[in-house]
Amino acid sequence: MNKLKKVEKILFNFGKYFSLVFFSLFAVVPVVSCIFTAFKTAEEYQSTSVITPPKNWLNFDNFIRAYKTADMGRAFMNSIIVMFFVLVVSVILGTQLAYILNRFEFMGNKIIRNLFLFASLLPSIAMQVTVYKIMSTLGLVNHLYGYIIMMCGTDVISIYIFIQFMENISVSMDESAIIDGASYWSVYWKIILPLLKPAVVTSCILKGVSVYNEYYAANLYLMDKSIRTISTSLYTFVGPMGSQYNLICAGVLISLFPSFVVFILCQKQIYSGITSGAVKG
């Protein structure tokens, strides 16, 4: 009996680690092969198999060339500008809306919640058919600010993250501040917003990554080369350069490097954001 248990345990452990290793490889191999290729010279890329490591791990030529051809310095600048404005505005709008939805009972409360919930059902790709028409009517196409304004709207997931968090901030704190003569604005600005900081960080990381990676609308609304973001700058490699994979891989790696750094630094917030955003969505 005891022996059987032992065998069962060994088999279980083997199965456990085998599955973990197998699926981790499944996840990283496509990226690792990209890393290998990005460090190879043109001749090396032609002559060796794509899954053999490069001879020289310090060959950054491809990265420099990709960075220059796709004008990625400029693209980084544009992405940073877009992210800065979108995050600041959407955090302010989102926390303010969450504040009134959570703290006050008024006629439209339920309606506003439902409007945002319903909006999350509409697939954004389908909406772009007519959003495009509105953007062009308003003259917002092909301007960085137009794209920023479109992305600024708050979404149901960040509202939920804020509301959930606010439910744990005691209402008595608001009330005592009000009795002391504070206005609702200062309650929001001096009490609620500072206490919401962890939720703000979580939602900024999640939204930041999604804005940084957004390419469908960016491709539609930012046609000029000078206003491309990082994700659309990769389109430079479509076409004549389409088979120079050592160059393309380098470009891809440059573009995902910031996400990688953020991921390493903020794993915890990312995981908790994903869990809390999905419970009600």
Partner: protein, 316 residues
């Protein structure tokens, strides 16, 4: 004037001030386009057609959606994505369960499997074009196991396999995210239950069936339903990898082309409306499903929420 200074008046002001901009943006970029979409779907028009030149065509666009070869056939492709999504959920649940037991290096495994979720769609497109090209990554790896590369299909061209190749990229991208979601849900199941079960001599499989699964069934069901609606709107893999060629164009890829390349805005709007109607039907079914099937599950839901609250309090 006095009323404005009263508490009620102040409340009114702050409510209006804090909701007017978000609601304006929501109207401008969601509900106005939605209304326009319904309107356009009855017209034959391009983006630049002035309003008086649009031709009213009645239900013709809708009839076209169902009769045109390319439109409705494309909807059938969602079957592939649906199968992929269900596989992905099962895989995520399996890995989440393993990781919720004691595992050495668990965090590293979790991180490796999650990271694809943070890569942009266009970068994924390049990574997998490279991955699937004849003689490149996938072929070389299979070659290592002694498989004759010459006999392998062209992963992105051969119509027998290319849709599965694309579905695999979607599984690759999202299974880690699903896994993290499920780990979160499993963690919120009361720890004492596991300890009690272990004392009673329940093995891991029994623990899974009797403790973990019932504890997280709401979130699993929700994700199964979401994956059905999600696969109807599958878009990114074919859009960035094959551009919809060789029979890989899903409904949205075709719609995108009709809208922005050939500029048949009316037809594209009708396609969008048809899909939205399908999604609403599924959402309503889902609501009913939860109402009637999970009536008795309210209690577990509550304890889940409650334990989340506890965790949040600790964080503060």
């Amino acid at each position: 004037m006095k009323w404005l200074k009263s508490r009620k008046g102040q409340e009114m002001i702050i409510i209006i001030a804090f909701s007017v901009i978000p609601l304006f943006l929501l109207m401008l970029f969601t509900y106005l386009p939605f209304a326009k979409m319904v309107q356009f779907s009855f017209y034959k028009m391009k983006y630049l057609t002035p309003p008086d030149k649009r031709v009213f065509v009645g239900w013709k666009n809708y009839i076209d959606v169902f009769t045109r070869e390319d439109c409705f056939k494309a909807l059938k492709l969602s079957f592939y994505y649906c199968v992929g999504a269900l596989f992905q959920l099962a895989l995520a649940l399996f890995l989440a369960t393993i990781l919720s037991f004691k595992v050495k290096g668990g965090n590293i495994f979790k991180g490796m499997m999650f990271f694809p979720y943070l890569i942009s769609g266009i970068a994924i497109g390049f990574i997998f074009k490279f991955f699937y090209t004849r003689g490149f990554v996938l072929d070389s790896i299979l070659g290592l196991f002694g498989i004759n590369v010459e006999k392998l299909p062209f992963w992105l061209k051969d119509q027998k396999v290319n849709n599965w190749s694309l579905v695999a990229t979607s599984v690759w991208r999202y299974f880690g995210q699903n896994m993290v979601l499920f780990i979160g849900a499993i963690m919120s199941v009361d720890n004492e239950l596991y300890e009690a079960a272990a004392l009673d001599g329940a093995n891991k499989f029994k623990q899974f069936i009797h403790i973990i699964l019932p504890g997280i069934k709401t979130i699993v069901t929700l994700n199964v339903i979401l994956s059905i609606t999600g696969s109807l709107s599958a878009f990114e893999p074919p859009f960035v990898i094959t551009g919809g060629s060789n029979g890989t164009g899903t409904y949205f890829v075709i719609m995108n082309e009709i809208a922005h390349v050939t500029q048949k805005v009316g037809l594209a709007s009708a396609m969008a409306v048809v899909l939205l109607v399908i999604i609403f039907i599924f959402t309503i079914l889902q609501k009913m499903f939860f109402k009637y099937v999970f009536r008795e599950a309210e209690a577990t839901d509550e304890s889940y929420e409650a334990s989340k609250l506890k965790k949040k309090k600790k964080m503060i």
